[in-house]
């Protein structure tokens, strides 16, 4: 019989894993060269950190949208929680930079994750369009509460946040995010999540606890959004509630959609492209929004209206994975 399933060794020291490790180190050297060398001017160097932050945001949102198949329009809300938590920690602690920042990152991620549970448990009972709208509502609720509270500086926001974020921190966290989410997706937990996306009735029938795995995916995504928020705050040094409105959530969604739902690699590439493109085009913010709109509409029409199927059948386009959830009746 042909050996369809690849034999896997029983430990982590496979050839593939060694190659990946080598790739990660090589990648770091490249990023270091770009950040420190003379190849890029200051304007482009300043994009390295935001690209990394958007990669973390997009890869984590892809877990909810691409793998769990639920549209979350509240990712910026979790990012805000992480950003404010992290900023308040480094503003109030008097510890060495590295210690303070690590605490901020971890706590920021965890508080966002806790909110992920609080919001996820009720919200994930809903499906489809309703779920999307409620996550949007929570995004707005979080933002107006931050706007209202004294500790977060109200509408003025927080300023003088130490600029701890640099390309090294970002690179480490980007790698960690990608590795953890990719590993998760290819594990028993990840299979449960994808199974729920494909058919939740069948998923229940084979003994999967649907709500548990939905919440799990949602919370893990929230955790990484929180970390991205901490990085974001310590990069800009100022935070305002208005930074985390629903447009920010959509911005992250645009990256996921462009990169392809359910594709981690796609999210990484799209995050880079969509951060660099407006800079290269030197376009005003007005055009950035137009670009997002066109990406969303064009991608959906291309993927789902049958244009792609036609192209694929005529052989003009290689077959690619597709969107998966069926319209709820």
């Amino acid at each position: 019989m042909q050996n369809i399933v690849k034999e896997k060794k029983n430990n982590s020291f496979t050839k593939k894993n060694l190659l990946i490790t080598a790739g990660i180190i090589l990648g770091f050297l490249v990023v270091m060269y770009l950040a420190e060398g003379n190849l890029l001017n200051r304007q482009y160097k300043s994009l390295i950190v935001p690209i990394g932050i958007y990669i973390i945001l997009a890869v984590s949102l892809n877990l909810t949208t691409g793998f769990l198949g639920e549209l979350s329009l509240g990712h910026a809300g979790f990012m805000a929680i992480g950003a404010y938590t992290g900023a308040l920690i480094t503003l109030n602690l008097n510890m060495p930079e590295a210690v303070e920042f690590i605490i901020a990152l971890i706590v920021g991620g965890f508080i966002a994750a806790i909110f992920g549970v609080l919001i996820g448990v009720p919200v994930l009972r809903l499906k489809g369009d309703y779920l999307a709208i409620v996550t949007l509502a929570f995004n707005e609720i979080i933002r107006s509460i931050i706007n209202f509270l004294g500790i977060t500086g109200g509408a003025m926001g927080l300023s003088k946040i130490p600029r701890y974020t640099n390309y090294i921190w970002v690179y480490i966290l980007v790698v960690l995010t990608i590795v953890i989410i990719t590993n998760l997706v290819n594990s028993r937990h990840g299979r449960a999540i994808s199974a729920i996306r494909d058919n939740y009735v069948a998923a229940e029938s084979i003994g999967l606890k649907v709500s548990k795995y939905k919440v799990m995916a949602f919370v893990i995504a929230a955790f990484f959004a929180g970390i991205a928020g901490v990085l974001y705050g310590h990069n800009l040094s100022v935070l305002k509630p208005a930074d985390f409105d629903y447009n920010k959530s959509i911005e992250i969604l645009v990256i996921v959609v462009l990169g392809g739902m359910g594709s981690v690699r796609g999210s990484v590439i799209a995050a880079a492209v969509l951060t660099i493109l407006p800079e290269v085009l030197r376009a005003a913010d007005d055009f950035r929004m137009l670009l997002y709109a066109v990406v969303l509409i064009a991608m959906m029409l291309f993927n789902s209206s049958g244009i792609r199927t036609k192209l694929e059948e005529s052989g003009k386009l290689p077959k690619l994975p597709k969107l998966t959830r069926n319209r709820a009746k």
């Binding site: 369809i4 399933v5 029983n10 998760l184 996306r197 494909d198 084979i206 999967l208 649907v210």
Partner: protein, 252 residues
């Protein structure tokens, strides 16, 4: 003691009594058929047995355990697996992953292991692959293990659903029209497979089917349902010669 004991089972939707006072006793290892005209409530019974609907009246015991009020996933862990009339596969997952997803509660490892791929991950995944391939082989699906489930031909999709159910290690397997849409050759082959599965895995099977050849060919006992109530129970040849049953099927 019977493996499945159903007493006075009933459910109403609004005013409609979809299933009324159904009693069912299936012995361990039995191959049992559930037949009846369209709309008789057969699939509704499956939905009651698997916790998709909660019965209005009656009790359901699987191997002595009362499962009324439990969620579908709990009932599955109590040893009941099923297939669906309108195939419900995980379409965008591979054939192998469809079965591995069903092994979820057989081979376990922690979320931490998932995140960081400790050696336990590689061991467990290997174990899962072996188990899954073994089951796929029974259904002659091992050659398509890496296909997307949606790319399988129809007959094979039906088989994959049975394989997936079997992977949950059930005591009782419910098959909802397993031969629907199959040609006579495929049906004959499926009959063999169902018998083989029952013997090899030592399970009990309850199936809904319209193909009388299949029903009389493999079922040891049959329950005929009409308008949600029991019309007749017994050995296939007796039941199918029952004048009431003939009337229900052919009309007056």
């Amino acid at each position: 003691m019977a493996l499945l004991e159903v007493k006075n089972l009933g459910i109403s939707f609004g005013g409609l009594r979809a299933v009324d006072d159904v009693n069912l006793n299936i012995e361990k290892g039995q191959l049992y058929g559930l037949i009846g005209p369209n709309g008789a409530g057969k699939t509704t019974i499956f939905n009651l047995l698997t916790g998709v609907y909660r019965p209005t009246t009656g009790t359901i015991k699987v191997d002595g355990v009362d499962i009324v009020g439990k969620s579908p996933s709990e009932i599955c862990q109590n040893g009941v697996a099923r297939t669906f009339q309108n195939i419900r596969l995980f379409k965008k997952m591979t054939v192998l992953d469809n079965v591995k997803a069903a092994l979820h509660n057989q081979v376990k490892y922690s979320l931490f292991t998932s995140f960081f791929r400790t050696s336990n991950y590689y061991q467990s995944e290997k174990q899962m692959n072996e188990k899954a391939m073994e089951i796929l082989k029974v259904f002659d699906l091992d050659g398509q293990a890496n296909y997307l489930a949606s790319n399988l031909p129809y007959g094979k999709q039906r088989k994959l659903e049975i394989a997936r159910g079997l992977a949950t290690n059930p005591k009782l397997l419910l098959l909802d029209e397993p031969a629907a849409g199959m040609n006579p050759n495929e049906t004959a082959e499926l009959m063999e497979t169902i018998r083989l599965v029952r013997d090899k895995y030592n399970i009990t099977i309850l199936l809904i089917e319209h193909d009388m050849k299949l029903v009389t060919g493999i079922c040891e006992k049959i329950l005929v349902l009409n308008f949600g109530t029991e019309l007749a129970t017994g050995a296939p040849e007796d039941v199918l010669n029952n004048p009431e049953v003939i009337t229900a099927y052919l009309g007056e």
